[in-house]
Each structure stands twice: as structure tokens, then as C-alpha cells.
Amino acid sequence: MSEFTKDEMSTFDRVSATLKGEPTDRICIGWLGRKETGLGLPQVTVADVVRDKNGILLYKGIKALTEKFKPDIITVTTYTTVEAVAIGTKDKYFKDQLPAPVEYVIKSPEDLDRVHIPDPRVDGDLPCIYNALRKVVRDFGNYAPISAGTVGPFSVAARIRGLWDISFDIMRRPWFVHDLLKFATDACINIIEGWQSAGATGFTSGAGSETVLSPEHFRQFCVPYERQYLQSAKKMGFLSYSRHICSGPSADLVVDDMTRFGLDEMPTLVWGYYKDAATMAQKKKLFAEFSPCVAVGGTFRASDQLAYWSPSEIEAEVNRLLETCYPGGKYVHVADCCIPPATPLENIEAFVISAKKYRPK
């Protein structure tokens, strides 16, 4: 049986069929965020977009990307320390790249009593996402599934404490790490409640911090809190879960433990860093043993292949990737991580068009 149907599908049907491994009319295209600057937004910096509390610049960027590339999933997001900044971590903002932390809010266990769970409508730069999300849902809610989320409990904890210090705490005072994680989990849950009220139907999680842990520490400090986050999202009524694996020293090892999150709780996409196409194909089979409705995506390196290669090189590499990863479906076409804001649009176009045109040999 061909894995492609002849009839054109809606994005909702395409995404649903992809996750189940059923035939689709073409490959499912995931979100292509490159922090939304530069496309139809001349002279707008990354800092302008992510700090715009009305979310208008973010919305305009998402609208432009959606209309140009017609992805099957839209994710409303800005930067990976946005939750921590809303809690009190201080970031440095850049013109052409994502903000990054310069001072962490939790310097001692006592500081945990001084911070509060952020309100996504009010605190830090979260209102940018909230307000953009409402506009995106208004305009594209009938076109494609719309997701929003957080970097997940462990990465939020690492971004309010600092990765070096939380690593030290894991070895010397694990009780404090659990206190941090309880707070971070509550923060993540409160934030996605806000996203749901703004109309998101899918929720997201994952960033790089947890991939500096050994598998044993990952099971101890990441899995239980991610499960709580996932189960709360399910109770709230979210329909899908997008889980990112960021590259890090233990990414190759802890990826198998992501099955412990409970992939059968709801339809799931596990996307991001895989060592290579063959590994991603192998993990697709592994995840399928844990859930009938789980797909993979990623591997294609955003920071060099997508940002610096030529469109023809990208097209050739996409075809090589798909030859290995597409058979059997359950594949969503996305890059492995955040697309650098300065990535040429013709490169993103080559990445998308080559996948949309793809047919197995």
C-alpha cells in the first residue's frame, strides 16, 4: 500500500494520520519558527519581538510564516528562558539572537520563598506569547492545530537556579533540587493553563538542561515532574504533547527514558536532536512500542545545515533524511532546534518544499 493518499487532506487530518502512522497526502510539516523576525518585519530585532507585551510583532511574524510556508502545526513561542525571566531571572537581550540569562533568581533555598508562580497574562515577557496566541488562534485556529508551552519543569528549574548550581545541588543537596522542581512544575502548569485559556490545543515541553544529566539523574529529577506536567495538561483538556530533545552530552542516552513520561497519555511528537537519521528511525520504532500515536521529527541541524547550507544542499539532505525516516509515517518534518533568526528564507523554503514534494523512490 502506498503511504500517500491522492486526496488533499486538511492540516488537522494530516497531523492526526501522521501521528497514527496512517497514509497522508504528503509529509506533515511542523513548526518553522525562526523567532519570527525578518519576514515582513523590517528593522525589527529579536529583542523587539520578544518584549512586545501586546504580542503584535510575534503575531505578525507567525502570520507571515504561516501564510508563506503553510505548515501543519503552529507553535506560539519566543525564547527558552521566558518562564525563568517571568520568575525573576535576568536576561540579556540581543538584536539577532534569543535572550540568555546573566543572573539567576534563586541563589539559595531561602529565595524560593521570595518568588511567585508567574501569571502568563502579566509577568515578564509571557504576555507577548499570551496575546500573540489569542490573535493566532483567532486567525488560524480553523486552519491548523496551535500549540504553546514551556521548556518543562527541569529546564525551568535550571534557568532559575543556573545549570552549574543545580548540578552541584543534585550531588550535594538533592532535597533542594526537588523543592526547585516542585515550584517549577507548578509554574509550568500555571503557564499552560493561561495558554489553554488563550486557545492553544497542544502543549510543548523540553529544552537542553536535562541533557546534561546521567540517565539515572534524568529518571530521578526529570521524569517524575514531566509526568506531573503531562498529566495536568491532559486533565486541562490539551489534545497533544510536543516534546523536544535538545542536544546535550547525554541526549543520546536519555532519549530512551522519554518513554517514561507516558507517551500514551495523549498524541505525542518527540522532536529535536537525534544523532542521525538512522537513530531517529530506530527511536520511532521504540516509541511506537509505548504508544499507538507518537511521531518523531528533527535531526536536520538548524544551526548549521539550515542556516548556512545552500538551498540545493538542503534539498538533497532532506531527501536523504526522508528516505530513512519517512517509511511507516509517524514523521513530522521539523529542524532539530530553534532556527537562527538570520537563516535565509530561501533555505527554509528549500527545507519545506523538498519535503512537500517528496515521494519515496
Binding site: Q97, L163, L213, P249, D252
Partner: protein, 218 residues
Amino acid sequence: MVVSEETQLAEVLKQNVIKGDVKATESCVNKLLEMGLSARKIFDIISTGVLHMGEQLSNKEAFLPELVVTIDAFKKGLALIETKLKSEPKAGKPLRIVIGTVEGDIHNIGKNLVKTMLEVSGHDVYDLGVDIPADVFAAKAQEFDADIVGMSALVSPGLMSLRKTVERVRQVRGDRTNFIIGGYATSPALAEELNIMYAKDAIDAVNKIHDFVNRGGA
């Protein structure tokens, strides 16, 4: 074969550094000082512990939390010998290395780790910090008469700064300074294009620089 008390204690000290056991590390350092071992030899022992952890990290047998406590034990041990160490001569000629994270990037864990590994390998390291403009790299390389400039770049916009830094340092110092790069945004292909060294992790940086010295560099 009879193993001397000093040799036994040296091995215990190394293991205590690897485990990140601060109290036991300090106790061993004090005992070895009482036994008359030079600060330089004690430094070499605790450095071996850090380098061993670096190998484990490279082989994915240990990860950041394990490394953090190893570095902590190393620093506590070093604090006990630091004054004496400064008054003792170094064996061999250390390389002068200027290191930093390039402009537009403020990640520092990888850079700090490489710095520690190079220091424990006996080199003189001048750490510029993070978000360092090309001109500052060039000026410090000149001031420090650097044999090597090490640059870390985790995020891709940093690659433009990295290229600019190589160009600027070459303008100022010609071929007198070599380069080593590392971090997620960098790659062997980029290093080859720029004709510089690439390190996949901290221990690889130490090995590449060791090879560079053996080839007659600096």
C-alpha cells in the same frame, strides 16, 4: 613490589577529587604537605583527577553534576597549596592561551571547563569571559602574546563573531597565534575552512593542544 605511603596517598587523593569529596581531598592534601611533597606535585595529582573526570565526560561515563563536584574538590585542594605553588617553578614551558566566549553568546560552562582542563594541564590561561568582541580578543592576544586563542560558540549567531575574531587576531598578530574552537555551533568543517583546530569537548581541546605542542607549535 612495595608501594610507598606517598604513592598510596596520591592515588587516594586523585580518587577523592574524582568523587568530589572535599573533606577527604583537603585531608589528603594536608597529609602530603606534611610529608614534604612539593605543591607542584600535589597540583599534578589533583589535576590528574580533573583530567580523569574529563575523560569520563568525553566517554559519557559521567555528566555535568559529577564534574561540578570534581571541580569543587579540585578548587578546595588547590586553595591549600596555591601560595606555595606560585613560589615553585613550573616544569617545561607553558603555552599562553587566551580564551573566551565570542560576542553575542553568553554561555560559559563549556568555556570554563576547557579553561580548567588547560590550566590543570599546565598552561597559562587568560580568561576573557563571555560575549567578547573580536577587538578585545585581538588586543588581549597581543597583550598576552598568546600562542593560542580559544573561542567558544554555542549559538549560531556567534559564528559570525567567531569568523570576525579569527580575522581580527590574524590582522593584529599575523601567524603568531593559533586558534581552537568548540561549542555546539562550531564544527570540524568550520575549523577546516578557517585552518584552525576544533575540539569536540574539553578533553579533546587538551589533546589537540598537546598534539599542537608535539608538532612544534609555539
